[in-house]
């Protein structure tokens, strides 16, 4: 695939539907599988400290969609493994890009190391207050069951937290793993809600 033609190709509705179907492997997920795969790809690129993990994840999925559109099918490799192989290539290309910018630490800071300038400190304070208000609003938007679960799941410190989770799993008749998956999903939704709220989206 030539780099120039990759950029020219755009994802059509039918190509996207084909991609969803391929990821679903015959079990209709209503787009869930696509979202989860994309999320894993974003995290993968993020762990590699890439500057635009979202763009690279979309680039990965676009390449796969294009191949599906052109060849009709991808056989011999399970979808998720194929996604990883393509993602690895996308990452290597990104890494070798001459214009690749280094991650700038200027805009990043350890939240514990508060800036010494009072105005900057106040900005941080204002930002944290807005986030707290958003968190409260977003918690209220959860269903009562989900709210209860997330509150209980993250309750306590260290050992107490582990014991709480065991009790919660037992109460809900779930395995610890199933409980963890459910809690992570709710937390993701909560984080997403807070992010949107903070950015006014």
């Amino acid at each position: 695939m030539a780099a120039g033609s990759q950029k020219d190709w755009s994802l059509s509705q039918s190509a996207f539907r084909r991609l969803l179907s391929w990821l679903d492997e015959g079990v209709e997920s209503g787009g869930e599988k696509y979202l989860e795969t994309r999320r894993r790809l974003v995290q993968y690129f993020d762990r590699k400290n890439c500057l635009s993990p979202n763009e690279l994840a979309d680039e990965t999925l676009n390449r796969i969609a294009r191949r599906l559109a052109e060849e009709g099918a991808i056989t011999g490799t399970p979808p998720l493994r194929y996604c990883y192989i393509v993602a690895k290539f996308v990452f290597l290309e990104y890494y070798r890009r001459p214009a690749r910018a280094e991650v700038s630490l200027d805009g990043l800071r350890n939240p514990r190391d508060l800036p010494s300038h009072p105005a900057a400190q106040a900005d941080l304070v204002a930002d944290a207050e807005r986030r707290s208000r958003c968190l409260e609003n977003c918690l209220h938007k959860l269903s009562p069951d989900n709210r209860r679960l997330i509150l209980e799941y993250y309750q306590g410190d260290q050992r107490t937290k582990i014991d709480n989770r065991r009790n919660l799993a037992s109460k809900l008749q779930l395995t610890m793993n199933a409980l963890s998956i459910r809690a992570c999903r709710i937390r993701d939704a909560l984080e997403d809600c807070v992010r949107k709220c903070c950015t006014g989206k």
Binding site: L41, Q43, D46, V103, V125, Y154, Q155
Partner: protein, 292 residues
């Protein structure tokens, strides 16, 4: 746990991976699992949330903490996760400590929600009512202190106004129940100030109201943050506050949950907010908490 046994990873290796501390070979292996293996992906997600929470709670230490700062925080989206976890932690810290009874404690967040909806209104009404009475007395005291030359030079904080204290000297048989609301007036910290203002908090104090005397009222709105100087952490933040008349001065009053405090030094940092939202540091009000 088929995946665990099959692929040979454990919690420690997952954490090392998240902190960028695994070998290249191991990183490649876990990279692949993070996308292809459902169980590893969910375990990674859960471990990452717990790691970030542990950082927000100040539980990380040593090499793990250093790796977290140097590697994990070098990403805007991961920093965003940390801020989310800190917001959760701040909410938890804002909760009002309910008396410890022999019943399962409410989850911390649930207490926060409970108090934010139900108690906030009720407590603030109580606070307001109490402050009306209290401020009258405090204004008189403050005015008297200002008239004393030595006192005005040192600008000592006007210290505890704890209702019921006067009664304890004459009615010794049983200690009075801990007051639900305690009120203190603090003056801004100035260079070369002598001793730190000391406040005494009995165990189980519900709310602690601070009235911060302003040197001048230059902002339409203020915010207050409570800092723990030992850890240099902000452990509580207020919403927007208005200055109000306080005798010949102006002051900002803020109500904090009593269970935030331990016997140690603290600093309330006052920030002024201009109409465009620009914030400017105004003053620090340092004090020491002791146990009654």
């Amino acid at each position: 746990m088929a995946s665990f046994e099959q692929h040979g990873y454990d919690d420690r290796s997952v954490i090392q991976y998240l902190l960028g501390a695994t070998s290249d070979e191991e990183t490649d292996r876990l990279d692949e699992l993070s996308i292809t293996d459902d169980e590893f992906a969910s375990r990674l997600r859960s471990a990452e949330n717990d790691l970030v929470d542990a950082y927000a709670k100040g539980e990380l230490e040593g090499e793990t903490l250093e790796r977290f700062k140097s590697f994990y925080l070098a990403s805007a989206s991961r920093l965003e996760k940390v801020r989310f976890a800190e917001a959760m932690e701040t909410m938890a810290n804002r909760s009002v400590a309910a008396p410890q009874m022999h019943r399962p404690a409410r989850p911390t967040w649930e207490r926060v929600l409970f108090w934010s909806v139900a108690a906030a209104a009720a407590v603030m009404l109580l606070v307001t009512g109490y402050l009306v009475q209290e401020n009258r007395r405090l204004q008189r005291e403050f005015a008297q202190q200002r008239e004393r030359p030595s006192a005005s030079e040192q600008r000592p904080p006007v210290l505890p106004k704890q209702p019921d204290d006067s009664a304890s000297a004459t009615t010794p048989p049983a200690p009075p129940p801990a007051p639900k609301i305690l009120a203190f007036v603090l003056s801004p910290q100035t260079r070369g100030t002598g001793s730190l203002a000391a406040i005494m908090l009995p165990p189980g104090a519900g709310r602690v109201v601070f009235t911060l005397i302003l040197e001048s009222d230059d902002f339409p709105e203020y915010r207050v943050a409570l800092r723990d100087p030992a850890s240099n952490q902000i452990i509580w933040r207020s919403a927007g506050l208005k200055a109000r008349p306080n005798g010949a001065n102006r002051s900002v009053s803020v109500s904090l949950p009593g269970d935030l405090f331990k016997p140690q030094n603290y600093a309330l940092e006052l920030t002024g907010i201009l109409p465009g939202g620009v914030a400017e540091f105004v003053s620090t009000y340092a004090f020491r908490v002791g146990n009654k």
